[in-house]
């Protein structure tokens, strides 16, 4: 596949708004509220409601997104006054971070705002980080600005290797990241892959997302990415925001995305979260969903196709069975016959299978397995 420039496609998302646009939105937010006050009205703002009742699966777009319900935040209300004030304090702090071109974590932000409200008020602006975490989401939703644009970082998790080059503009310096020159450890995916991150060159044929770091290391040692001309990513379990954004961006570049996870509750969860987005981050919608992603395995069917696996199954736990049943009830899952069969088999045999089992006979079998599956298109939706 030919390398592609990403820029034109990037415009579709809200990511990487840039400091100018983000500042414009923050200031506009404040100005609108002040106008209301000057008219003698209560300051208030609306935002999409993030509760379960307003999260729906978009049949057409095939990801979880937030519905049309809105909620209003008003200052002159006992229940909301404090949160309102706190939200504005966060907005103001974000503005400062952007103006100073400094990044911090949501915990760093919390400490910046853990101040007393005044000499005669025995109360802190924030006294628990959970308070500020929640309001950061409010602000993201209210302004359609992602936290990464507020210069807020999250913990890095996830590793990538393979043929991709990224220009990383950070702390006033430009560094070229080459995914083929990361040795045994790979490149750790930062929390923000939008601001100051530019894909220079992506020559890979496809992207392989591997649940477990151990299997990723196996494939890295086998030079799988080199042999196959693909990008290998492990989210190391549940995918972080940065990892999900990176996968989304690679998908936007036209690369097929394949998932390779355990055949159990946790593995399925990781796959479907990357594919359709999660309830918690439904407000981020398409920017965090990869509906076009396909599932390689491992699957219950593999047990029949690869005889040695029969002896390597383990008993499914209560949580796996319960999860399988739940998944059967999700319309975006039970729309697929293959998944119904797969999950029913789990429920029937009460067995599960780990990625690692593929190494049972021969360590390098993992790569052969993946290669074969992609070749013959033995994939699940």
């Amino acid at each position: 596949m030919n390398p592609k420039k990403i820029e034109d496609q990037e415009q579709k998302t809200l990511f990487g708004l840039g400091e100018k646009e983000t500042l414009f939105r923050l200031e506009g937010f404040g100005k609108k509220l002040i106008e209301e006050v000057q008219k003698g009205e209560e300051p208030k703002f609306q935002m999409p409601l993030r509760s379960r009742s307003n999260i729906l699966y978009d049949e057409g777009m095939k990801f979880l997104r937030i519905g049309n319900k809105k909620e209003e935040r008003r200052f002159v209300s006992v229940g909301q006054a404090k949160k309102f004030m706190q939200t504005i304090a966060i907005a103001n702090k974000a503005k400062k971070f952007i103006s100073e071109d400094l990044h911090t974590s949501i915990r760093g932000l919390y400490y910046q705002l853990k101040v007393t409200l005044g000499e005669d008020i025995d109360e802190e602006l924030f006294s628990e980080q959970s308070e500020s975490n929640e309001l950061i989401e409010d602000l993201e939703v209210a302004l359609s600005v992602k936290r990464e644009d507020f210069n807020l970082t999250t913990d890095r998790k996830g590793v990538v290797a393979g043929p991709l080059k990224i220009m990383d503009t950070f702390a006033g310096e430009e560094t070229i990241i080459d995914g083929t020159k990361m040795g045994r450890s790979g490149w750790m995916i930062p929390s923000d892959v939008d601001n100051g991150m530019e894909f220079i060159d992506v020559t890979a044929k496809y992207v392989l997302v591997i649940e477990k770091d151990a299997i990723w290391q196996r494939l890295n040692e086998d030079k799988f990415w080199k042999k196959e001309n693909c990008i290998i990513i492990t989210p190391k379990g549940q995918a972080s925001r940065g990892t999900r954004r990176l996968i989304r961006k690679l998908a936007d570049k036209g690369l097929p995305i394949y998932a390779f996870t355990d055949c159990d509750a946790w593995g399925w969860y990781i796959y479907w979260t990357i594919k359709t987005g999660s309830m918690n981050l439904a407000y981020l919608g398409r920017d965090f969903a990869v509906p076009e992603m396909k599932f390689i395995g491992v699957t219950m069917k593999d047990i029949n196709n690869y005889g040695f696996l029969q002896k390597l199954t383990i008993n499914a736990k209560e949580v796996d069975l319960k999860r399988a049943e739940e998944m059967l009830s999700y319309p975006w899952i039970n729309a697929h016959k293959q998944w119904i069969e797969e999950l029913k088999m789990v429920l029937k045999t009460k067995k599960k299978l780990e990625q690692d089992a593929l190494q049972g006979q021969k360590l390098t079998f993992v790569g052969e397995y993946i290669k074969k599956k992609i070749e013959i298109n033995d994939l699940m939706p």
Partner: protein
Amino acid sequence: MLDVFDKFREYSVAEFFKKNRQMLGFSGKIRSLTTIVHEYVSNSLDACEEYEILPEIKIELRELENGNIVVKVQDNGIGIPEKLIGKALGQMLAGTKFTRYAQQRGQQGIGASGCTMYALLTTGKPIYVESRYDKTLVKCNLTIDFKSNRPVLTNLQKQQILEGQSQQRLDIVKEKNIDGTGVLIEAEFGDVKYDGGVYGIYEYLKRTALANPHAQITLIEPNGNSAFFPRSDNKIPPKPKDILPHPLGITAHDLIDFAKRSENNNISSFLQQSFSRMSANKVQEIKTLTQEMNFGKKPKDLNWEEADKLVKIFKQMKWIAPAVDSIIPIGKEQIEKAMKNILIPEFIAIAERNPKVFRGGIPFLVEVAIAYGGNSGKSNAEGKRSGDIIRFANKVPLLFDAGACGLTEAVKNLDWKRYGIKNFDECAITILINFVSVHVPYTGAGKQSIAQDEEILDEIRNAVQETARIMQKYIGNVVREREKEGKKKAVLRYIEQLSKDLSELSNGKNTDELTRKLIEIVEKKYSGETKEEKTEITNKKEGIEKSIEE
């Protein structure tokens, strides 16, 4: 003028009461002392009211090394004439009250003499009396000869205290309420104990002051502390009218007692003249109901069986209710003034009730008042305020036997939560209940609890509920106001920080103006409406959220 003193009757009962002192309220050291003070203070109040004098009573207690307590009570009443000092303070059942049938503080006339007796029994010492009556000051010591129930006066001294006509003197006393006449009694008692708690003298006098707003009471406690209960109202309560007993309110014993003292020639005329609502027709009706009884014989020959029979017949007949003007309550205005003065509450609720009857015809009236907040209630063990029910019978505080009393029983199971009181035992609240009647149905000789007749219980319940409803409205308003105020404050406290951040966020300059405007908006909002608007706005049309999509 002084015909009240002509009503003395003599009964040789000292010996009996010497053996049964608990019947007079002399049981337990604390209670004995309260009883003593009660008897003297009641006498003082009666002596003042009788002559329309605003009472000023001073009680001084002194503890001796041997544990005995000296009680000194001084009043500004009319005083006692020399020849009646002995009878008034040293002879059992010889008081002015015994032969009168009206609403009174005491009902048996054994009080002050009982105290003299108690002093003699516990210390062997006589009591000391000073009486300023008319224009003469008499000082003496007083003991009782138990065998004959006769008072013995010793060390008698007399002196003139004021020249002039006695009527003039009385006029001065009346008009100017000067400290001229009065009685001072000083007596030493053993087997008594001073206590600062709910059964003690302080509490008793506080309650007396609440029920007698026209009185001024000073207490000097054994430790030298003094408590002053100032007069709240200058209006002297009207004198209760003497009325004849109602046939439904008497017992066979009463009937024989009256008959023995009757000067009528026959029972028919005795009945007609001794009882209220007893017409000639009614006597005739009685005669037809007891044909075997001889109504022509002398009243003093009436025997127990006949008396018992008559009382039973009275109860079968229909009677016009007794006159209610014989009942003198404390009065709404007076209670309010007294409570304000003494309890300094946030709020007072008082029920105004009409007289009711019990036992078929005895009129009674219930006064209920609730004081809320301030110094209302009593101190509990932790020093916090706790709900208090204070009981009165004809304005006399009932401190003891609360458990057996109808006044307590009636409010015991009241659900205070319904009236806005979350926990009665942790609330500064005083419930005053005054039972007013010419005949208080005490359950014991100690006169500390009232019988639990259904009619009485019902009326008290209704009165307390009526009062509690008034209070509930007030508490509701206060709570609402406080909530509103609290809400306002809860929002106001964040204005400064919000103004600062909002200004900075939008590159605004005038933070102070923003603060001012915000305060205005908040003040305006909480001056009127209280309802919080719903925060969730639901758009009916489902669709893709454009702001995120594009």
